[in-house]
């Protein structure tokens, strides 16, 4: 029976992975993800979860190990953050292109330097092109529900891709909050026993991951692109099925109070929750603001996004990472890509904020509003700006 209880989100996520009856966990502890794998190792040690827990010596080994166990046909789970995700970098591409249905939670955290353990999206955005499916959860309930959903998506034979489940480090991972936790029996009715399409088996040998000469590499990439794009429909179906079964329906793109909005904030992750409470507050004072949130980031839900922002005048894209010397933040770049050439496309105001644990608070949303209001009133669209920095814009510190 599902139980509503107060629990630290990391522990709820670990218990969800255990309730998914994962076969293998290979992981290395790193803040702020540590509590997830610590708890899983306890559950295995205490005999509550029948799985192999492989305490490896680095994240590079963790992901390599996950590739091995997934290739052998085991339901495989891991978790990481920041420098740990970066250390997995080369293996991430291998997991994706070998079509290994690994589920990895990423408690998003800034990359060094300076050394910073706090939350932003620089770790995950740097791995944007690894070929994994990517989902962003905004709170503990969603993060917990997404664990069985992600296993189901990854293992669907129409998909067969690894998936990263992102939620913000500390501001989600370390918060004690009420979560409805599904038990093993309930999850079993949604997530069937994993039956691999192909696996490494000494009695029926196959080769995985051979050399791809120039004659086949392009085709392999094309096949991978098709696999990621074609995962969209199964993802939508699975999200809907979860909603029907458990009463919590998740969509690839979410909207909040956008019906009559002039200015719409485009966000990802937990900061969108704080933004919702800010919107509730300022709506009373006549500010017509709403929020559109990407839950699904790969595949990019182009059609759903375009529909969600149709007719608005100004979009404020809030990025938690940027490309130094480049074209601003990754979310804004892709939003502009989706809107380019569209008739009556909204103007796009780009801000980078909430870096390395700087709170994305009401003041930050007010600053963004002021920038957008000028554009709404006919002002020019300003260049991308890193807000919240003492001393202001571009090197005046």
């Amino acid at each position: 029976m599902a139980v509503r209880k107060g629990i630290e989100v990391s522990l709820a996520v670990a218990e969800a992975a255990a309730a998914c009856d994962v076969d293998c966990i290979a992981a290395y502890p790193i803040t702020p993800q540590t509590h997830i794998v610590e708890h899983l190792s306890e559950l295995v040690n205490d005999g509550e979860l029948d799985a192999e827990f492989i305490p490896v010596e680095s994240e590079h080994s963790a992901m390599s190990c996950c590739c091995g166990t997934a290739a052998a046909g085991a339901r495989t789970f891991t978790a990481t953050s920041s420098q740990g995700l970066a250390l997995m970098h080369e293996i991430l591409f291998i997991a994706a292109n070998l079509r290994l249905p690994i589920v990895m939670t990423v408690a998003n955290r800034a990359l060094s330097a300076p050394i910073n353990i706090w939350n932003d999206h620089s770790d995950i955005m740097t791995e944007r092109d690894a070929g994994w499916l990517q989902i962003f959860a905004e709170n503990g309930q969603e993060a917990t529900d997404m664990v069985p959903i992600c296993h189901r998506i990854a293992e669907d034979k129409r998909v067969l891709l690894p998936i990263m489940l992102n939620f913000d480090g500390f501001i989600v991972s370390h918060v004690v909050e009420p979560i409805i936790c599904l038990d093993k029996e309930e999850i079993a009715t949604f997530l069937p026993i994993y039956e691999p399409q192909q696996r490494l088996d000494i009695d029926h040998p196959i080769t995985m991951g051979p050399v791809g000469m120039p004659e086949v590499y392009t085709e392999a990439k094309m096949a991978h692109e098709a696999a990621v794009q074609n995962s969209y429909e199964p993802i939508c179906e699975i999200l809907e099925e979860f909603g029907k079964q458990f009463g919590r329906t998740y969509k690839p793109v979410e909207t909040y109070k956008t019906e009559d909005a002039d200015i719409v904030y485009i966000m990802m992750g937990a900061a969108a929750e704080t933004a919702m409470s800010w919107v509730d507050k300022v709506r009373d004072s006549g500010k017509k603001v709403g929020i559109v949130r990407f839950r699904l980031w790969r595949p990019l839900p182009v059609k759903a996004f375009k529909e969600a922002v149709k007719g608005f005048k100004v979009l404020c894209v809030v990025d938690r990472h940027f490309s130094p010397g480049g074209a601003g933040g990754p979310v804004a770049q892709e939003v502009k890509y989706m809107l380019y050439g569209e008739e009556n496309a909204p103007k796009v105001v780009e801000v980078v904020a909430g870096l390395g644990g700087r709170d994305l608070d009401y003041d930050a949303f007010e600053t963004m509003y002021d920038k957008c209001k000028k554009v709404l009133d006919g002002g020019e669209v300003p260049p991308f700006e890193l807000i919240q920095a003492r001393g202001g814009h571009y090197g005046k510190i």
Partner: protein, 182 residues
């Protein structure tokens, strides 16, 4: 929505205080969250923890900067941390101190309604160690009906197992002995 900020020193259990309060509220059917001030935890250094309690879903995920209530677990913090910072109009501070509310106002400049208890003495006598987190919850509950007292005692039993008894005694004594001023 009520927002709380706990001031303690690393190792004194301020995070546990905030967590027990949130767990009690959730067990009572409310919405709540608790979280530490994120960062390297250093034993003995001033640390903060936060809690929010509400009848409706809580969406704000920023640190608590305008608390309705602050709880000060360690008397030595009063002169080195501004525990009144951001306290809302009509807010309350629950303080571990041997001093009177009047002295705390005049000498340290504490603001708001004050709830004062000598938690060091109570914890030393009832628990055998000067760990004041559960004691301070007793003082907090005397001054506010923020969560159900019996439900909180249930949480203490669950969390502390064989050492729960001392913690519950300390909690109850603080509930009885706390002075409320303002």
């Amino acid at each position: 929505m009520l927002e709380l900020r706990f001031h303690g020193r690393g190792g004194q259990g301020g995070v546990t205080s905030a967590e027990l309060l949130a767990l009690t509220a959730i067990a009572g059917g409310k919405f709540a969250q608790s979280f530490p001030s994120f960062g390297p935890e250093r034993r003995g250094a001033p640390v903060k923890a936060f809690a929010r309690i509400s009848e409706a879903q809580i969406r704000n995920r920023t640190a608590v900067t305008t608390p309705n209530i602050t709880v000060v677990l360690d008397p030595s913090l009063l002169t080195i941390v501004n525990t009144s910072e951001g306290l809302v109009e009509g807010g309350m501070q629950v303080v571990n101190s041997t001093h009177s509310p009047k002295a705390l106002r005049e000498e340290i400049g504490l603001k708001g309604k004050l709830v004062v208890v000598d938690a060091n003495k109570i914890a030393a006598e009832e628990i055998g160690r000067v760990i004041t987190n559960t004691t301070m919850l007793g003082a907090l509950l005397k001054a506010t009906g923020i969560v159900d007292k019996e439900l909180l005692i249930e949480q203490l039993k669950k969390r502390f197992g064989r050492i729960a008894e001392g913690n519950i005694k300390a909690f109850n004594r603080a509930f009885d002995e706390a002075q409320i001023d303002g």
